[in-house]
């Protein structure tokens, strides 16, 4: 696999950095270019360093078993740690990837002094918690105070959801301005590299870290909010964790996986009195984006977020849920999309025990019904029936098209450059 020297283009108010990628053993759709695009005012954050292309490119190289040749500059620190990073990718998620060799044309760090501190900003519990913890008023170390939030299009929001994305960008920009940080909307197609090859839920780490690398011309520190705490990480495999994300740091960019020290319910508790979180929280898996209510309130993640909010007596303050929980009995909705796979169940019970013990019977019933539903509908339902049900919209995903993460006009203007 060859990762060519990245190039910059400024056009139509946007600056794009792209690199041509060539794969020897590819099967199926593979993007011709990997690119990142930001509004022109943030163009100086983009660099022609190859780090942002090598990190996600590594996943493709390892998937195809294709050694990588990088035809641009790579940070020596990143290059050094990629050996252990490759080991850990395979250790955490065996059977997906091969070990490969990487040939670096040039090892040199970015030659600039960067001062900004970034964090991804998706509007979810984890990112709001990370930002909350690194606001001036909560973070005593000035060089760890967040100055910029990065909202990515092309990760959990697809390119064809542009209208929704722009809607959220406006909301987030206003909120960011209120807390004295800037919002950088970043568009990218890097998920195309692994799409339909590797499960994004297992391999989000390199993808999110690469967003930080793309903006390394401005950032000296980049926070990746943790999805899982140390307790969950002990028993589950993920490529996004405090150990692995740190290995993707460069000589000029400190990557910090933040928040694994806190359980999700503790994060909800910490942000539950913060007005920005109350007016902004977006956790929904359904992506319906109704005006003022962008959380469907019925998907697994909406309920997993609403239950602690309700338990803490803050449901009224959180305005982004379409159907907020109004009574203890409403907790039974948890059963509808209940997933026993991740370790969030115990912490929800602990929180209820501490703050609102009268919820425990309802939670117990919801969990029991949820388990039953999960095994009958998700696990034991024959594949053929699942396939048949797809025609009615069940068991489908938003990103099923092979090029779901591509934007043809951006590829076109890169080609025409």
């Amino acid at each position: 696999m060859i990762i060519h020297q990245p190039e910059l283009i400024s056009k139509n108010g946007y600056t794009t950095v792209f690199s041509r990628t060539e794969v020897n053993n590819k099967v199926g759709f593979f993007p011709e270019f990997i690119w990142y695009r930001v509004p022109e005012q943030y163009g100086s954050f983009l660099t022609t360093q190859s780090d942002a292309f090598l990190v996600p490119g590594l996943l493709a190289g390892m998937y195809f078993g294709d050694d990588i040749e990088v035809r641009g500059a790579v940070s020596p620190m990143l290059a050094y740690h990629l050996e252990e990073y490759q080991f850990l990718l395979r250790f955490q998620c065996p059977n997906y990837l091969n070990h490969i060799e990487i040939d670096f044309e040039r090892l040199e760090p970015i030659q600039s002094t960067c001062n900004a501190v970034g964090s991804t900003f998706s509007g979810g519990v984890d990112s709001l918690f990370t930002i909350w913890k690194h606001l001036k008023k909560n973070q005593a170390m000035p060089d760890h105070q967040v100055t910029h939030g990065v909202f990515i299009k092309g990760f959990d929001i697809l390119p064809d959801e542009d209208q929704h994305y722009q809607f959220m960008v406006e909301k987030y920009k206003q909120a960011a301005a209120q807390i004295g940080i800037e919002l950088i909307p970043l568009e990218t197609n890097m998920v195309s590299i692994i799409h339909q090859r590797l499960p994004l839920t297992l391999f989000p780490g390199p993808i999110i870290a690469a967003a930080g690398h793309a903006l390394a011309g401005g950032f000296r520190r980049f926070f990746i909010p943790s999805s899982w705490d140390y307790q969950i990480l002990k028993n589950n495999s993920s490529t996004a964790n405090p150990l692995m994300d740190r290995l993707l740091s460069t000589d000029t960019l400190d990557i910090i996986h933040h928040g694994s020290t806190h359980r999700r319910v503790d994060k909800v508790r910490e942000i539950s009195n913060w007005e920005i979180a109350q007016k902004l929280l977006w956790v929904c898996e359904k992506h319906k984006f109704e005006k003022d209510h962008w959380n469907c309130s019925r998907c697994e993640k909406c309920l997993r977020s609403m239950i602690p909010i309700y338990t803490l007596g803050k449901m009224g303050a959180f305005t982004t849920f379409k159907k907020p929980l109004k009574s203890d009995r409403d907790l039974l909705w948890w059963a509808r999309k209940f997933s026993p796979q991740r370790g969030f169940i115990r912490e929800i019970f602990s929180l209820a025990k501490e703050h609102k013990p009268c919820l425990l019977p309802w939670l117990g019933i919801a969990a029991a019904l949820g388990f039953l539903r999960y095994w009958l509908v998700i696990r034991l339902l024959p594949g053929s029936i699942k396939t048949w049900l797809r025609r009615y919209g069940y068991f489908t995903a938003r990103n099923e098209a092979p090029n779901a993460y591509e934007v043809p006009e951006i590829n076109q203007y890169i080609r025409g450059k």
Binding site: M77, Y80, E84, M141, H144, P242, T261
Partner: protein, 428 residues
């Protein structure tokens, strides 16, 4: 707990960097000062930041549940990360240490541009492996090629064993000179903070890294060799691993926990043709043993000799008193066999799986002897466990069941303490 501003004293040809430590609730046998003794030759590399004192001091604070007041400059990056570090120590060893608040008088990064790449060096398999992998012939990235090795006195050689340390120092110095690595000698009483209170094998990480921070003007990178690999870390717990050690990095020094991706038998194989390792390997456990060779009978000696013997390299490794000479001699494994090191929940975790896989590949004729050794060793281990306490106590008068680490001044040098008390300005 107060960690006072570090100070420097000169004593003969050495420099002593020390900080006074005050506990709010005084404790018996708790050292009044933390100190590091370094040859004067390295005086320009010494950092007077409090980083080297807050890291080990934190353990004492967490153990006694005393909030910490640091009266010297601490790296902001380190200070930021100590919160997560404390969480991890408590997460892993919840019954031993509790998070505390730390108050910093001054948060300031070291104003220096250190250039050297250091590694903690004990002469064991892990540290030889780290050194080998990061020598110019094996490590193409110049920024990670090791230039200095730090050999600490007061860690696995007790402070009172001066002559043993000196002998090893001379030997290692000669060996490392041949590969252009400078050996730095350092003595410290850091372990006297920990030894009678916490388990050394769980809390050695902060000690090694604290020692590196004293030479903050020297090291831009510092390697800590892993004792446990990633398979073992799934089950075993320690203060030193690839997740926690880098949290002790500062703006000017990157701490790298190295080698957890490689199993111990693979490390032995990697260094088995390397002359400096063959002639200087030091793995022997008994810390108070005088002499310069490996006893060849303790658990670690035998665990190391078995793969060396299987590779057919036994005669090349000249530091073993009684090297294995036949398959049958691997029965010595039984003598100090500790099942807890070998059998763990994860099937691939302990040393047993890797040892058997390795032997099966390189010398399958040893397998029956190893199986027998394990059987006998397990019986022996449990028989010892069942000996009643009074009998064990009685046997102590004959030298059995004595922990050398809890003897008086095992990890301290009273002369240096006295010197600090008489010379330090903070004592005035």
């Amino acid at each position: 707990m107060i960690i006072h501003q570090p100070e420097i004293l000169k004593r003969n040809d050495d420099i002593i960097v020390h900080a006074r430590i005050e506990l709010r609730q005084p404790q018996a046998n708790f050292p009044k000062h933390l100190w590091y003794k370094i040859p004067e030759l390295f005086s320009q590399h010494i950092s007077l930041q409090s980083d080297a004192f807050v890291i080990p001091g934190l353990l004492a604070g967490m153990y006694y549940q005393e909030d910490i007041d640091v009266r010297g400059a601490v790296s902001p990056r380190l200070a930021y990360q100590l919160e997560e570090y404390q969480f991890l120590l408590n997460f892993r060893m919840p019954n031993m240490v509790t998070p505390v608040d730390i108050k910093y008088t001054q948060l300031q990064a070291l104003q220096a541009k250190p250039e050297a790449v250091g590694t903690a060096f004990s002469g064991g398999v892990d540290s030889f492996f780290t050194l080998w992998e990061n020598l110019p012939q094996n490590q193409p990235i110049p920024e990670y090629q090791i230039t200095h090795a730090l050999f600490i006195h007061g860690y696995d050689i007790l402070n009172k064993n001066q002559s043993k340390y000196q002998a090893y120092y001379s030997r290692f110095q000669d060996a490392l000179k041949q590969i252009d690595v400078e050996l730095v000698s350092m003595e410290t009483n850091l372990f006297s903070f920990i030894a009678p209170r916490m388990k050394l094998n769980l809390f050695y990480g902060p000690v090694l890294i604290g020692s590196a921070h004293v030479l903050g003007n020297l090291f831009q990178k510092f390697f800590v060799s892993s004792s446990n690999d990633y398979w073992q870390l799934k089950t075993w717990t320690s203060s030193s691993d690839p997740t926690s050690d880098p949290l002790l990095s500062t703006e000017t020094m990157e701490i790298i926990h190295y080698g957890a991706a490689t199993r111990r038998v693979e490390k032995i194989e990697a260094i088995s043709n390397w002359k400096p390792a063959q002639e200087n390997l030091r793995v022997c456990i008994p810390v108070d043993l005088e002499g310069m060779s490996n006893c060849s009978r303790c658990e670690k000696c035998v665990r190391t000799m078995i793969p060396i013997y299987a590779l057919g390299k036994m005669e090349k490794f000249t530091t073993f008193d009684k090297p294995l000479r036949s398959d049958r001699e691997s029965l010595w494994w039984a003598r100090k066999f500790d099942p807890s090191k070998y059998f763990v929940k994860e099937s691939s975790g302990g040393f047993i799986q890797e040892t058997f896989d390795f032997i099966r590949k390189h010398k399958p004729t040893m397998i029956p002897w190893l199986r027998m050794a394990i059987l006998l060793g397990t019986i022996r281990h449990w028989s010892l466990k069942l000996i009643p306490k009074p009998v064990k106590k009685w046997l102590q008068r004959f030298g059995y069941f004595i922990d050398p680490l809890i003897q008086d001044h095992a990890f301290n040098d009273p002369e240096i303490d006295q010197f600090i008390e008489s010379s330090s300005t903070s004592e005035q």
